[in-house]
């Protein structure tokens, strides 16, 4: 039976994993290559690498770092951040990425999704949607969450899949970093509206939150960052917890 996935996320800036930089020395978080290998060994089902500086500083994702992470893990590897063309993707796949995620560039140029799916297949194309709730309605954000557009999140999810995206990574700006739980309503709405897998992201604080995302939120996978980096939640314990809750996971 197909299992639910637990996905650690490495937010990378200037070659280092940065989540929580404000309150913990960066070296204690570990470098992305070591962390990636550690998570793979601990039973992570996939690894996501986001170059969070890429959009803002108009830089391309650091391809040599992507290659070093890829060399050291034996699980699927998705890379995002600043990707805006077929050529960008070709370079990253050439570095050992298995999938790529696009965000701002696809909002600006939705046709990009069709081009990427045509070239590499839908299974390679993840649409990352950053969402923000304003007056009860969820809108799409771009540029690393700095710009709130007037595009309704659910409409964009449906359109992105129609254009060729094979998976959705939905991150709630309202929840990200709060450790108060995932945005269950929009995650569930997306999962029910499209026929591709949905990854819940933003807000993971407890093991219960993961369980909620995968049941009530109807997500196919749940992503966490700092809870894993700071060992607040260990992946093997999390998966055991989920299994005891009756959620199918790979142990």
């Amino acid at each position: 039976m197909l299992t639910k996935r637990i996905i650690p996320c490495l937010d990378v800036k200037d070659g280092k994993t940065v989540k929580g930089i404000n309150f913990v020395d960066i070296k204690t978080v570990g470098d992305p290559v070591e962390l990636g290998a550690l998570y793979a060994k601990m039973g992570a089902d996939e690894l996501v690498f986001l170059d969070i500086t890429a959009t803002n500083e108009k830089r391309k994702t650091l391809s040599d770092l992507v290659a070093r992470v890829a060399q050291n893990i034996n699980i699927p590897f998705c890379v995002g951040g600043g990707i805006s063309s077929v050529e960008d993707v070709r370079v990253l796949l050439g570095c050992g990425a298995d999938k790529i995620s696009v965000n701002t560039a696809a909002v600006k140029n939705p046709q990009l999704l069709t081009e990427l799916a045509g070239e590499f297949g839908s299974q390679c194309v993840v649409i990352a949607i950053d969402v923000k709730q304003v007056d009860g309605e969820w809108f799409v954000c771009t540029h690393g969450g700095q710009v709130v557009t007037d595009i309704k999140a659910l409409d964009w999810a449906i359109e992105a899949v129609r254009l060729g995206a094979g998976e959705i990574l939905v991150t709630s700006m309202n929840h990200d970093g709060t450790k108060n739980g995932f945005a269950l309503d929009i995650t569930r709405a997306m999962s029910e509206a499209v026929n591709v897998p949905v990854i819940a992201s933003g807000g993971a604080g407890t093991m219960e939150h993961f369980a909620e995302a995968l049941t009530e939120g109807k997500a196919d996978a749940a992503l966490g960052a700092s809870v894993f980096h700071y060992k607040e939640i260990e992946i093997p314990a999390l998966k055991q917890f989920l299994k005891e809750k009756g959620i199918e996971v790979r142990l």
Binding site: C95, N195, P197, D220
Partner: protein
């Protein structure tokens, strides 16, 4: 040991290359018929769309090269589908090494299937040491039906072929190069098959 990974327009070639590197092997990546024919083991990976991949193989003359190989050949994911007789994806005739037809999953579940699923009814030396119902990683929207060449089964909307074997030709719908320790063991087993 001379391992050649076939390079074509639908590869996650680098992922496979790194996986072999972790096992201690340096593979050659090539689309040259002579290089491919000279290999001890050939790996035919693939992530992409069936019709355009077949067209590319035909243009390069790689379709007849692959069919004529006599050493162990391992097709992965799209590689498996292209080794079957026909694919619904782009409605294209494929290499015909296996008689199976490749069909799209019905929309009763999410398509593509992405994630870890279990394999069972394992009966081939390539699964030596692999327990029934081990988890491996799948990413695909099309599947090969069960048949006499099926050497591993899995379930998504129905039972279908997780792996196929006929003579020197092996094929896996899942990605051993991305399936953790289990996948590494399967790759090791393949590279220990008698040439």
């Amino acid at each position: 040991m001379n391992i050649v990974i076939i390079k074509y327009n639908a590869g996650n070639v680098q992922s496979v290359y790194y996986a072999l590197e972790r096992l201690g092997y340096t593979a050659t990546v090539s689309d040259e018929p002579a290089v491919i024919r000279s290999a001890d083991y050939v790996i035919f990976p693939g992530v992409g769309e069936a019709a355009s991949a077949m067209k590319y193989l035909q243009e390069k003359g790689l379709d007849s090269v692959i069919r004529s190989l006599t050493q162990p050949v391992l097709g992965i994911c799209l590689g498996l589908q292209l080794m079957c007789s026909h694919s619904e994806e782009g409605n294209v005739d494929c290499l015909g090494i296996f008689p199976q037809r490749v069909k799209r999953f019905p929309n009763t579940e999410k398509v593509p299937q992405i994630g870890w699923n279990d394999i069972f009814e394992l009966h081939n030396p390539v699964f030596k040491g692999i327990k029934e119902h081990s988890y491996v990683y799948f990413v695909h929207g099309y599947y090969a039906e069960l048949g006499e060449n099926t050497i591993a089964t899995t379930y998504y909307t129905q039972n279908y072929s997780a792996a196929l074997c006929k003579e020197n030709f092996y094929a896996m719908q899942f990605h051993p190069e991305k399936s953790g320790d289990i996948g590494e063991q399967i790759l090791r087993n393949f590279l220990e098959l008698k040439n």
